[in-house]
Amino acid sequence: MSNSADLSNHIKGILDPRLELEKIQGKHVIVTVKEKLSTADRGALLLDTEKRLRKQLDAKLEVFLEPKGDLNKLRFQLRGVGYES
């Protein structure tokens, strides 16, 4: 692949229509799922996509969703409590 724009275009051409490319970070391909799917169906779609990208573009590509932040309000408020000796 000559540059990241090329890679991005190639990935977009391969992605299932239910997925959208968010960004590429090194070998990590971050996508979003555009419609509500069951846990199993969504997982299968993503893993199949990774296999396809690896086969057609680069064997080291990995597919991820954006990470989800902690929803526990208490932990969120108190996280980072430090110890002053």
């Binding site: 199993a40 997982g43 299968a44 954006e66 929803l71 526990n72 932990r75 108190l78 110890y83």
Partner: protein, 383 residues
């Protein structure tokens, strides 16, 4: 495959203290299932580690659960009843209520412990014990193989700092532990009671107070373990700094008596978060379920980020159907294939680490698993 259930009264911690394996794996006591896996059979997990909720009233600084957020569903009593019945039917041997939430906060908690035991599944709990009051302990202890209290300090004020609660939580939890110890002694229960410290390198001042507190409270053991981190080092655990704590850890071990073990998970601490293997063979034997009901091969893959590994949700589908699905076995196959590299794609020191290590050496022919012999270890079904 028929499950072989080991009744709680077969072994007692009072008689067999030396038989407790906290820093290793018991997979060689389950070679029937290893053999079936090698033959390509779709085996049931030996052990399931799960939570009944993702909620927690504590906010420990090292809590890995903050990295495990995923779409939340509520595990109701009906869901867990179906789940337990499916687990017993398929041959699951043990369920530990630990994972990514404080299961004692679930309204289905007591039912889960009691019904799981009635179905012949060894049950265990990891908890901060704030909600395990005497009446609750009276109901659950007789059904448990072990109950482990997460207690990552020895001093009252440091407990509050490290675990993110008010200092009086320390007093309440200590009393709850004393009550549990008294109930166990009164009824001569085989349940093992322990406390666990997740040691962050900067909290080394609490090693000895923690070890001494366990002795004073009268629990069977106190275990000190490393802190896991994700592949990006989000929690900031500096594994190189554990070495400076070795002297204190050895001193803590020396506090052990005939009735009280201080156990250091040396093997994991000394490995400094490194793995000797690339394939992940452990999940078919030891799978994890989030407090949201999400079935994933490993707790480190609970976050939405890793949705490609998410297999199903017990709040959406029956556990039996999830286990039988092609999706379940596709994911397991992928983790054990050349496409997966745990050294590069995983966080540090996962729950399956020791099982993975043993299975990898077995598959590679470096150390073949052989039928275990000698005295059966405690908590045998918790691999």
């Amino acid at each position: 495959m028929k499950a072989k259930h080991v009744p709680h009264n077969v072994v007692s911690v009072a008689d067999e203290h030396a038989g407790m394996i906290l820093d290793g794996t018991k997979i060689d006591w389950h070679l029937d299932r290893v053999k079936a896996w090698e033959n390509g059979e779709r085996i049931a997990p030996i052990t399931i580690d799960m939570a009944l909720t993702r909620a927690c009233q504590y906010s420990c600084g090292f809590c890995y659960a903050m990295l495990q957020e995923n779409d939340r569903s509520v595990i109701t009593q009906e869901v867990i009843t179906n789940f337990l019945e499916d687990s017993a039917r398929m041959g699951v041997r043990a369920i530990s209520l630990v994972s990514d939430g404080e299961s004692t906060l679930s309204s289905a908690f007591e039912h889960t412990v009691q019904y799981g035991d009635e179905l012949g599944i060894s049950m265990a709990v990891g908890t901060n014990a704030y909600a395990v009051t005497k009446p609750k302990a009276e109901k659950i202890l007789k059904h448990l193989t072990y109950l482990r209290v997460n207690f990552s300090a020895g001093d009252r004020d440091r407990y509050a700092q490290i675990m993110g609660v008010r200092p009086d939580a320390y007093d309440k939890v200590c009393q709850n532990i004393r009550d549990m110890v008294a109930i166990k002694k009164r009824d001569d229960l085989p349940v093992t009671l322990g406390i666990q410290m997740v040691l962050m390198p900067q909290d080394g001042d609490q090693i000895l107070p923690f070890a001494k507190l366990g002795k004073e409270l009268g629990v069977d053991y106190a275990v000190i373990k490393h802190c896991s981190d994700d592949e990006y080092g989000t929690l900031g655990v500096d594994y190189g700094k554990y070495a400076s704590l070795y002297e204190q850890l050895r001193e803590a071990e020396s506090i052990s008596t005939d009735n009280y073990d201080v156990v250091i998970k040396w093997s994991k601490i000394e490995e400094e978060g490194k793995r000797s293997y690339q394939r992940c063979y452990g999940p078919p034997f030891l799978i994890q379920i989030s407090g949201s009901g999400l079935v994933a091969p490993c707790g480190m893959l609970f976050n939405e980020r890793y949705a490609k590994f998410h297999i199903g949700n017990i709040c959406e589908n029956r556990w039996w159907d999830i286990w039988q699905s092609e999706r379940y076995w596709d994911v397991m196959g992928y983790l054990g294939s050349d496409d997966f590299n745990a050294q590069q794609m995983c966080g540090t020191l996962c729950l399956q680490h020791k099982v993975n290590e043993a299975l990898d050496q077995h598959v590679e022919g470096k150390r073949k698993l052989t039928p275990a012999s000698g005295t059966q270890p405690l908590h045998i079904n918790f691999v």
